[in-house]
């Protein structure tokens, strides 16, 4: 999000405060969130893709809602109104094409009328059919989970993304040979996928509360957390949504404080550190151990300030609209061990993976009477490998994930072993633990920052005092 976008959202919250009594909050939030999906979407060199991708985001979310409707229930009248309302919003965004003064909310001009109507007909037709009960058998839930994962793999794998981009270019009458993986920059899909998988899985386990379409859509594409999280849980979000809310001075100040913190962390500290933080270019140029450590420290801090800053801003914006998004960071670099680090870094992702990957996986192994050590090893490796691959299906992210998986396992075993055997002062243990943990995490960032494992190897050798 840019400063202008953030300022606009703040202004909208104040407008919502002024007109709050006349416009129900859920409609305000749904409207802003749906429009924000189009507005925040980055430009794509593929014709009209910056309109189709946001539309697909909304359609996928709507279809996920439809498929998670409890068996035997049909959409309520309110759902129908919400559906047509969202359809109308998308249509309005598209029709700005013909109103030069308003054009365009999307980075490029939306598609022409015929392909627009055809596309919208297909997208929303599928949602309507699912909503009417068609293809709403239990297997469709599994199919939806697989479909989201499949989309995810396409987007995160460079060869597949490039292939898809080439296909889309061909479809649009553009030169497929110019396709790049970055053509498919689909804003917020990573986080949308987590939210949808959470709802689909909870529907399968019977834990998902009943949700109206407008509630589900607002949850799935809630604009403050669309780009960089946090990943909220739907039942918590729904509770906030259903609570009466009026923006008062206290809430405004709290939100302002979070926004100010976020802006400072992201745009001052994070962006300043980015000027010399480790990256593929300077990794190949640095030649002394001391400076290599400095670049790495800058990268570690930059990543934290950038990401935590975004989270502060998301929470601040959420507060302005009466939604208290979950915290995502808790002093991660000051934690005394790696397990505590992951309990303080991207906490909502960690909780998600614990709930949907680590716990079910280790439960399944325990049921097979495996001993505890291999269960923990495999559970940590799988979970952290998935965290790595979520950032991109590449070797460096896989190595980064395995680095943390092994680190978590080692810490787990060490903690078990050391219990009652070591007699160290708690302060010394906390300080040395924090230093060790920070450096373990920082060394892991080398793999994260550098896509070329050879280059990462060069930097690691340098960090260890070796020749570059």
């Amino acid at each position: 999000m840019t400063l202008i976008q953030i300022s606009t959202f703040v202004a909208l919250s104040l407008l919502a405060r002024v007109f709050g009594s006349r416009l129900p909050r859920r409609w305000t939030l749904l409207t802003i969130s749906v429009l924000a999906v189009f507005w925040l979407q980055p430009a794509s060199p593929i014709r009209n893709l910056d309109f189709w991708l946001p539309l697909l985001t909304i359609s996928i979310a709507a279809a996920a809602w439809a498929v998670t409707l409890p068996a035997g229930t049909r959409p309520a009248r309110r759902d129908g109104i919400a559906g047509f309302f969202v359809l109308g919003l998308a249509l309005a965004v598209a029709l700005t094409r013909y109103i030069p003064a308003l054009c365009c909310l999307t980075p490029s001009r939306p598609p022409e009328t015929l392909p627009l109507l055809l596309g919208m007909g297909i997208f929303f037709g599928v949602v309507w059919l699912v909503g009417r009960g068609f293809a709403r058998q239990p297997w469709t839930l599994h199919a939806r989970v697989l479909a989201v994962i499949f989309l995810f793999i396409i987007l995160k794998s460079e060869p597949l993304a490039q292939l898809t981009a080439a296909g889309l270019r061909g479809l649009m009458g553009q030169d497929p040979t110019l396709a790049q993986p970055t053509d498919l920059r689909w804003l917020g899909f990573s986080y949308l996928a987590f939210r949808l998988l959470h709802t689909l899985r909870d529907r399968l386990s019977g834990r998902l509360p009943a949700l109206y379409l407008d509630e589900f859509l607002t949850y799935a594409v809630f604009f403050p957390s669309l780009t960089a999280g946090p990943i909220d849980r739907v039942e918590r979000f729904q509770k906030d949504l259903q609570t009466e809310f009026q923006l008062d001075a206290i809430r405004f100040l709290e939100a302002g404080e979070r926004l100010a913190q976020g802006l400072f962390m992201k745009f001052v500290l994070g962006d300043a550190l980015a000027l010399f933080a480790l990256n593929p270019a300077n990794a190949a140029q640095v030649s002394t151990t001391g400076w290599a450590w400095l670049l790495l420290y800058a990268y570690a801090l930059r990543l934290f300030f950038d990401f935590a800053g975004y989270t502060h801003m998301a929470i601040g914006l959420g507060l302005l609209f009466g939604i208290r998004l979950p915290e995502n960071f808790n002093r991660p670099y000051l934690q005394p061990n790696l397990t505590a680090f992951w309990n303080g870094w991207h906490m909502t992702l960690t909780n998600w993976l614990r709930a949907y990957v680590f716990n079910p996986f280790t439960r399944a192994l325990r049921a097979r009477k495996w001993s505890i050590a291999p269960i923990i090893l495999l559970g940590q490796l799988l979970t952290m490998l998935l965290v790595g691959l979520w950032h991109g299906i590449t070797l460096n992210f896989a190595i980064w994930g395995l680095w943390h998986g092994l680190g978590l396992f080692t810490h787990n075993r060490w903690a078990d072993f050391a219990k009652g055997r070591l007699n160290v002062s708690p302060q010394l243990a906390a300080i040395s633990g924090a230093l060790l943990t920070f450096h373990f995490v920082a060394l892991g960032w080398v793999w994260f920052a550098l896509p070329d494992p050879g280059l990462a190897g060069r930097v690691l050798r340098l960090l260890a005092g070796g020749a570059p």
Binding site: A249, L275, F276
Partner: protein, 372 residues
């Protein structure tokens, strides 16, 4: 009004007052020059070997800014007191002296330093690169003016005709954004530059506030931050793998600015050269007419290169020699001292081998001047 509303009103009111007060204070005290002197360079970060300049900061770890104080504070020249056994030579000039498309170890100053000269009195001769990539004698004069604080023992000022037309004097951003300093030089040396020239960027009161000065302030900060990348990599310029070579086929153009054939000395900025020499005072200043590429392609019968029609440059050579003789300047003309193969993307930018040739020539010339 509820208590929370009063609290909010107080917070917003105080924040507004603070914002206004800080801006007023900034505008009235104008602390930018002072802030420019605060630097991490020559401390935790090694000093730069050339004045900050960068067209692609994210790749060059360098940027262009207009604060002379900050530019000098980041330069190795300003690292502590001058060593007692150092004979300090500063090189002044344009991008050819700065070393466009050259790494630090290949610039003219580096080639001269590699000669490891010592004076007859046993002082080691150290050359400092104070070239800056825009062509204007007034810009050079500004840099000499600032550099005099750092006790040079010899100044070598490389010039070319392109830096001398009157209307080029206020052309560079460094001159435009330092109107106070330039006007002081105009007044002191009676330069022919109009102090009211609209090129000078005089700031309004609002532009002097913290808000108005946010860009220069950000530049000061970025200069420090890029310093870490410079320290880590030793890179201060993005040098592309390939570049367009200097033109050998030339346009059929015979005009040169507003100069007429047989123009006289007052048609170009000899007064600025004179001012530079006067500013150097007792410090010897060697004026050098810098080398340039001589084309042999299309229209080379009427032009030397992309910059110059032959008539204009030939006239300039005559005038330079005359003025040097009349005024007693230390002057050397080395415009043909580098072979034609050793130019890169411009008629004045040299390859490393070209810098070696020029350095050899300059070493011959400065030998008699190495007496502290």
């Amino acid at each position: 009004m509820s208590e929370s509303m009063r609290f909010l009103r107080n917070v917003l009111g105080k924040a507004t007052l603070l914002f206004v007060a800080v801006n007023l204070l900034f505008a009235t005290t104008d602390p930018l020059s002072f802030l420019g002197n605060l630097s991490l360079y020559n401390g935790p970060i090694p000093g730069r070997q050339r004045i900050p300049f960068g067209e692609e900061p994210d790749k060059a770890y360098n940027l262009s800014l207009n604060s002379l104080e900050a530019m000098f504070a980041s330069h190795e020249l300003t690292a502590g007191a001058k060593p007692v056994d150092e004979f300090r030579v500063i090189l002044i000039g344009d991008s050819s002296v700065w070393g466009f498309l050259l790494e630090n170890q290949d610039t003219l100053s580096a080639q001269l330093n590699s000669a490891d000269l010592t004076t007859p009195a046993g002082h080691s001769v150290r050359f400092y690169n104070l070239g800056y990539p825009t062509i204007s004698l007034t810009k050079d004069l500004l840099i000499i003016d600032e550099a005099m604080r750092y006790q040079p023992d010899l100044i070598i000022w490389l010039v070319t005709l392109e830096s001398m037309p009157h209307n080029k004097q206020t052309f560079t951003p460094l001159v435009q954004h330092n109107p106070g300093r330039v006007r002081a030089l105009i007044a002191e040396y009676g330069l022919s530059i109009d102090p009211a020239n609209p090129d000078f960027k005089d700031l309004t009161f609002l532009q002097k506030t913290l808000w108005g000065q946010r860009r220069p302030l950000a530049d000061l900060l970025r200069l420090q931050l890029y310093g870490f990348a410079w320290g880590a990599t030793g890179i201060d310029q993005y040098i592309p793998a390939a570049y367009t070579e200097r033109a050998n086929d030339l346009p059929l153009v015979t005009e040169y600015y507003d100069l007429e054939p047989d123009f006289t000395a007052d048609a170009i900025a000899f007064d600025v050269l004179d001012a530079g020499i006067a500013r150097a005072g007792d410090v010897p200043l060697l004026l050098v007419n810098e080398p340039m590429f001589i084309a042999d392609g299309a229209n080379s019968d009427i032009r030397y290169n992309f910059f110059y029609p032959k008539w204009a440059y030939n006239r300039y050579l005559v005038l330079m020699a005359e003025q040097a003789a009349v005024n007693g300047w230390l002057y050397a003309d080395v415009w043909q001292a580098v072979s034609n193969d050793e130019y890169t993307n411009s008629a004045i930018h040299l390859t490393p081998a070209g810098e070696v040739q020029l350095a050899a020539k300059l070493l011959e010339l400065i030998h008699p001047l190495l007496n502290p």
